[in-house]
Structure formats: C-alpha cells, structure tokens
C-alpha cells in the first residue's frame, strides 16, 4: 500500500462504507441513522478545530450550531428565502461571533474559557427563547418540507451523500491541520503557548482564527441539521448538552485527530439510535438513559483512555509492528 493510502485507510473505510450504504439498503430507518452519524461526526470535527487542534476547549459550541439552525429556519419562514442563503448568513454571523469571542477571551485558559463559552450560549438561549416576535420564542420553529435541492427538501439518499460530502470536507480540514505548517504552529500553541510565542508564532491570531473557523463549520452543519430534522427548538439547539456532545464524540474518537470525531460519532450516535428504538415504548424518555450512559462514558474515557480510539489503535499498531 502506498503510504498516502495507508495514512487514510481508516477514513477510506469509514466514508467508503457510508457511500455504499444506499446501494445495499433503502431502509429509511437505517439511512436516517447513517445521515445522523455523518452529521454529528462533521459537527464534532468542527468542534475539534478549536477544541482539539488549538486546545481551546469550548462548552458553548451549541451557540454556533443554534445560529446556523435559526438562520436557515428564519430565512425560510420569515423571509421566504432559500435555506442556502440562511446558511450563508448563519456562517457569516458565526464567523463574526467566533472572531469576537476568540479575541475577547484570548487571555482566558482552562475553566475560564469554558465558562465564558457557556455564558455566551446561555445568552443566545435566553434571547432566542424570549424574543417571541422574531424567533417564535420557546415554541420553536417547524421547518416546512419543500421538495427540491434549492429548498433542501431532499430524500434520505440525497441527504446521505450531502452529509458525506460535508464530512469529507471537514476531514480534509482536519488532515490539513494535522500536517501543514499552520497545523504544527497550532500544536505548538496548544502544548506550550509561551514557548510558541518565543519562537515567533503569532499565537493570538492562530487561536482566534481556529475558533472562528470552528464556529463557521459548526454553523454550516447546524443549518443542515435543522433542515434535515425539520424543527428548531431554542432549548435544544443552544443547550449545554449539545455542546458536550460535540466534545464527547471527539474525545472518544481521539482529540486533535482528523478521523477521531467520526469514529466517536459512529459509537455514540449508534448507541443513541439503538436506545431510542429499545425504549420506544417507554413513556419517560429514552434520552435520560442515553444521557446517563454518555455522562459515565465521558468520565471513564477522559480518565482511562484520554487519547481516544485513534490513540488506542495507534498504540496497538505500534505493538504489532514491533512484534
């Protein structure tokens, strides 16, 4: 195998498997779970740009997700515009918000940065749920299904390939950040900011740039998610749980790796889909049980396997190569 191929063998397997799914099965339930795995994977990959490569651990990334979701839903319902236009507006707003947050919170580290990002998502949550006249407040916005590419009213197979295209784009961003000059500079900032600065790396600009890029990518997927699922609820799209979910997928898969977020999403999203089916009859939500597991998994993974699945795989491969 040529080295380039070997390096991306995991990605080839994951994305290749997703690409052949529609050829094997046309079961909508199955297709739906694959689309969700891809969308959550892409969202986690977006979080990874700031949280993984730049080491700016945010627990408020739901802010950008919500901005994207609301921008497209409002574009459709209030202005009768295409969700694609809404996506552009959402990305522009998120990019700006990411720049401002990155710039303002530049000095903050560790828990302080996490607290600042939570506060930002809570401000947006309150604004979206109380500003009745514009956002419909806590009732949320149903996104009408209008068939066609321009209105993002697509079938399951089309959605799958669209989500896959987004995943490939985000994976490419991840690979770039792993292997480019900028990527190595970011790693320097993440590991030792003072040392990086002493070497002449523009640490501040890099961190702000990473946060803004991460915000824009998150927002784009937020739009897609809202159009796919068909409902925008302020208490969900801006929730802390959602922000934790992006981080959880990434940590399980491997923080700061291009493939990690997707591997984490396969595991966590499948678990959710399975539990949803298993507890479909139960009156009090399956979400509770699912979230208990995900909280416990988070505690266990950061404690016992902080390098994630990709890290474990690399360790096993190293042992195998030596033997």
């Amino acid at each position: 195998m040529p080295p380039a191929l070997r390096r991306h063998a995991g990605a080839l397997a994951v994305f290749g498997a997703a690409a052949v799914v529609p050829l094997v099965s046309r079961d909508n339930y199955f297709l739906d779970s694959v689309v969700l795995i891809l969308l959550w994977g892409a969202l986690s990959a977006a979080w990874n740009v700031a949280g993984g490569y730049a080491g700016q651990v945010s627990i408020g990334h739901a802010s950008f997700f919500g901005i994207g979701a609301y921008a497209a839903a409002l574009a459709g319902t209030r202005f009768n515009a295409s969700p694609w236009l809404g996506m552009l507006v959402g990305v522009a707003i998120s990019l700006a918000a990411g720049l401002v947050i990155g710039y303002l919170s530049n000095r903050l580290k560790g828990p302080y940065f996490a607290l600042a990002t939570i506060a930002f998502s809570q401000v947006l949550l309150i604004a979206a749920s109380r500003w009745r006249g514009f956002t419909s407040g806590s009732e949320g916005i149903p996104v009408p299904f209008r068939p066609g590419f321009w209105t993002l009213g697509l079938g399951h197979v089309a959605w799958l390939y669209m989500a896959l295209a987004v995943c490939l784009l985000y994976y490419a961003v991840g690979v770039y950040l792993e292997r480019s000059r900028v990527g190595y500079q970011l790693a320097g900032v993440r590991e030792d900011e003072d040392a990086a600065e002493a070497l002449g790396i523009a640490t501040r600009r890099l961190k702000v740039g990473a946060i803004a890029l991460s915000a824009a990518l998150t927002s784009m997927c937020g739009t897609l998610w809202a159009q796919y699922v068909g409902f925008v609820d302020a208490f969900y799209v801006f929730s802390v749980d959602l922000s934790v979910r992006f981080a959880l997928n990434t940590i399980i898969g491997g923080t700061g790796t291009a493939l990690g977020p997707f591997l984490g999403s396969i595991l966590i999203t499948s678990l959710e889909t399975y539990l949803r089916a298993a507890f479909a009859g139960a009156t009090s939500g399956y979400t509770g049980i699912y979230l208990i597991i995900y909280g416990v998994v988070l505690i266990l993974v950061v404690r016992f396997a902080p390098e994630g699945l990709t890290g474990i795989a690399a360790r096993l491969r190293g042992r195998w190569a030596r033997a």
């Binding site: 000095r107 828990p111 506060a119 909280g295 950061v302």
Partner: protein, 304 residues
Amino acid sequence: MDPARTLGPAQIDVVAQLAASTVLLGGIYALIAVGLTLIFGIMRVVNFAHGEFLMLGMYLAFWAFTIFSLDPYLVLFVSIPLFFLVGTGIYVLVMRGVINASHNVQIFTTVGLSTALQNVALVAWTGDFRFVRPWHSSVIIRSGGAAFNLSQVVAFAIALALTFCLFAFMKWTHTGRVMRATAQDRDAATLMGIDTDRIYRLTFAIGIACVGSAGVLISPLYQVYPTAGLQFVLLSYVVVVLGGLGDMVGAMIGSLIVAGVEVIGSYFFGTAWKEIFYFVLFIGVLVFRPAGLFGQRGAETLGV
C-alpha cells in the same frame, strides 16, 4: 413572586423592598457559591456538576415533605451529613483520579458527572415540575416598607449561619488552617506532612454539603425539576468569578452584586430577561477583569 407587584406601590417602599430582596437573595446565593469557591480554591477544580447537588438537595426536601410531611428545615439535619457522605463518595470514586490531571480532563469529568446526575433524576423522578409548599411559604412579613415571605427570611438566616460556621471553621480550627495551607501551596503542604488527599476529600465533602443544604433551603421558594440546578450553578459561576475564584469573602460580595443585578433588573425590565443581565455582567467581568473584581491579576492566564 415579587411582592412589590402584587401589593401595589402604595404599601411598599420600592427602595426598601429592592434592598431587602437583594440581601435575602444574596445570602442564599452565597451559600450556593461558597461551596463552589471552596472546592476551586483548595482543589483547583471547577466543579461543573455543582448545580446537580443543589438539585438533589431540592428533591430530598421534596420527597421528605411529600412522604413524611417533614419540614425542609428539619430535613437540614439529615441533608448536611448525607451530602457530606455523598461528597466523600464522589470524591473517592470520581475526583481523586483526576486531581492531578489537566484542566480539560477535570472539566469533562465534572461535566460528565453533571450530565449523568441530571438524567438519573430525570429517569427516576420524571421531568415534572414539583413544589414544596410548607405552611411558612405562604406567610408574608411586613416591616419597614418592605414585605417578604417567611421561607425566604428563614432560608436567608440559616444560609447566613451556615456560611458563618464555614468561615469560622476555616479561620479558627486546625483543619481549617491546614486546608488554607493546602490551597496556598500544595507541594509545600505535602512537605510539611499534610495528607493532601484527606484534605481534598474533606473539602469536596464540605462543598457538596453546603450546596446540598442550600438546595433543601431553597426548595420552598423554587420549582423542583431535574435541570433546576443549571440556572443556579450558572449564577454561582458569575458570583464566584466576580469575587475571584477561590476567594470566600469575594463570593459573599459577588452574591450581593448578582442578587442586586437580578432584583433591580427584574424590577425595571420584568423577570423574563433577568438572566440576561448577569450573563452580560459575567462576560464583561471575564473579558475585562477575569481574576475577579478584587482578585490578583494574571490568575486567569495561568488557568488556575
């Protein structure tokens, strides 16, 4: 909720009412925040699951009231030792392993704990809003142009008493002094023969006992539901950052500021938007004075 609105301006002196509400609310916020700042100050861990222990305290009061008709103030005698034990258990099971780990590991450990506890409550007791309504929650006291609810006054008095006990403990007992020494310099404390693991266990247990009891105290005043802790914990982050993370006196002053912002904000703009004010205040403080209003400069860039 706000007596000034129901009784009309004729019987109420607005300034006196706002001042009294601020102080009463501030006392309760102080008890919630003091545990958070204690844990941070000594263990250098921001406990993102703090609000969930408040929620569990509220549920304890609810069940004790519903099943045994126990008054929340009597439940305090159970809740303090109970939450002390819970805190010890959580420390041994979850926190001990990450006490020397990186910030990110600590953040996600407590975030995971928060998610798990919230949803244990959701699965066990459903998402319904529940109420604790003992007799004293409907008694109104009028004094000096202001009116308040008896539960609020008692909760304030007990919160103040508990916070004072904690201060006295930290200031005058040997264990308190050892805890402060550990906060100042972990390595030096270890070299002096202090068992830091024991100190952390004690710190976490005391912090959880404070917040759990605060949950019991506020149960007659607020609705009880699985995510009830979230609004209070967000607010106590504001309090604690305002006062300087780890600074107990700062937390008291921070509580009064946040309570004042909330009371005055809801008087002028309505209760719907009250959280906006303290979040904006929070972001402002994080951006311009992240070490707190009276904290040392530079603490935030060290990430401590």
